[in-house]
């Protein structure tokens, strides 16, 4: 009897450890912040989907531009219609790798500062970026945070001269994701 349980147990263990290689969030949040002389503009998006592969150190994010919510309805409309052109470019995505993966012990609680390098695609323009991030572990859950700046000009987003005092040239992006083990189905 004991002998029989053992192989099942081993098989089970292998499955468990392997399935915990990929982590997912469907409700990651990204905050868009523009600081300009006339007004500060903030938009929240808590419908970001992201995968994290802890073995390979790969991360991938995708979100719909329409999921960014603004305080003013007209700002949201202009963001989609005039700047991001969300009908033509509905998604923004990022795919990258943790360059210093060895720093992170995914089996020990704690916060680790890492660097993520990869391709960010916004408004149909892909740019290679390198951003600092914090990976923190507590009770088997993985939390990832990052804050970085992007220049709207680099993504071919035009700001008319009449609103230069309303919209910043550099936007601060804050990312906050709480990952859970990915189960298929």
């Amino acid at each position: 009897m004991k002998k029989r349980i053992l192989p099942v147990f081993i098989g089970f263990l292998v499955t468990l450890s392997a399935s915990a290689q990929t982590y997912i969030t469907r409700s990651g949040r990204v905050i868009f912040f523009s600081k300009a002389p006339v007004e500060n503009i903030e938009a929240n998006n808590n419908e970001v989907t992201s995968f994290l592969d802890i073995k390979k150190g790969e991360v991938a994010f995708v979100t719909l531009i329409k999921s960014f919510k603004f305080k003013k309805a007209l700002m949201e409309e202009h963001f989609n219609e005039n700047y991001m052109e969300s009908n033509t470019f509905p998604k923004a995505n990022f795919k990258g790798t943790i360059t210093d993966l060895s720093k992170v012990n995914f089996y020990k609680d704690g916060a680790y500062t890492v660097t993520i390098k990869g391709d960010l695609t916004i408004h149909g323009v892909t740019k290679n970026i390198e951003v600092p991030a914090t990976v923190s572990l507590s009770e088997g859950k993985i939390n990832a945070n990052s804050k970085f700046n992007i220049k709207v000009k680099e993504y071919n987003i035009k700001i008319p001269s009449t609103v230069v005092n309303n919209i910043a040239e550099t936007i601060t992006i804050t990312v906050d994701c709480k990952y859970e083990p990915f189960k298929k189905g």
Binding site: T15, A18, T22, R26, V62, A73
Partner: protein
Amino acid sequence: MRKKLLIITTSFFMATSSFAQDTTDISKMLEDELKANDINKTYYTTATFKTTRLIDGHSVENTAPGVLDVKISHRFGTIGGSNGGAYNFFGLDNATMRLGFDYGITHTLMIGIGRSTSNKTFDAFFKLKILRQSTGKRKMPITLSYVPTIGVISFRDTSLYKFFSSRVNFTHQLIIGRKFTEGLSLQIMPTLVHRNYPVDRGPNDVYAFGIGGRQKLSKRTSFNAEYYYQIPSTKVPGTVNVLSLGFDIETGGHVFQLHITNSSSMTESNFITGNKGSWQKGDILFGFNISRVFNVVKKHTKEW
């Protein structure tokens, strides 16, 4: 022995299947997730038109919830024709206007009030979206709105209007609109105008059919056109159908609408059933609408 073998092979399969994840591509998994998400979500079409008015009449667009839209609309006098010309400064001497307030209650319901120079008319309406154009889980090709308007003529002529009810008219309008592409939106507007006491001795019920649309010229400008056709059997004698051509410019919180039209009125009962100006006779006039939005109620963003 057999049983043992079975267990071992089963566990082996379990192990390999999980090892197979090593080769899975998270970008592809992300795509699959998105596709699954797309099926479960409805995406409503936004910004079919720049503002709630096409030119004189309503567009299928609503004011966002908690947003007040102050509308100042001007029509100058006719450029040509018998009342125009250099003597009347090509119409600038004779301006009429409407001051209006539109307010969004929900995503599907807005209300509005206004006061026009023509017949000193007060008007009030609501606009209810019955269907909303959408893609995703719920696919809807069109937006359908119902707009009932009440107009009250406050012109002081007691010999003409013996009762208060004589001054009242009602307009029922259905607006069927579709944003075909990013730039092109079209709408049709079957309309019924009921006048309690038609001073023009025309019919009480006037049926009309409106057609209109916009073509974006750039991100912030568009060309608009609007035409209201009175069904001949109920047409008010001596009136002319209204054709308006316009140009929208959007700048931040403002929308400027510049147009040329043959109507000096801006409420349905006045411009659909009471217009005398004719394009052929040179009764063309210049007008503009200015729309400015104010966020009255702060949007409750979900705390997370």
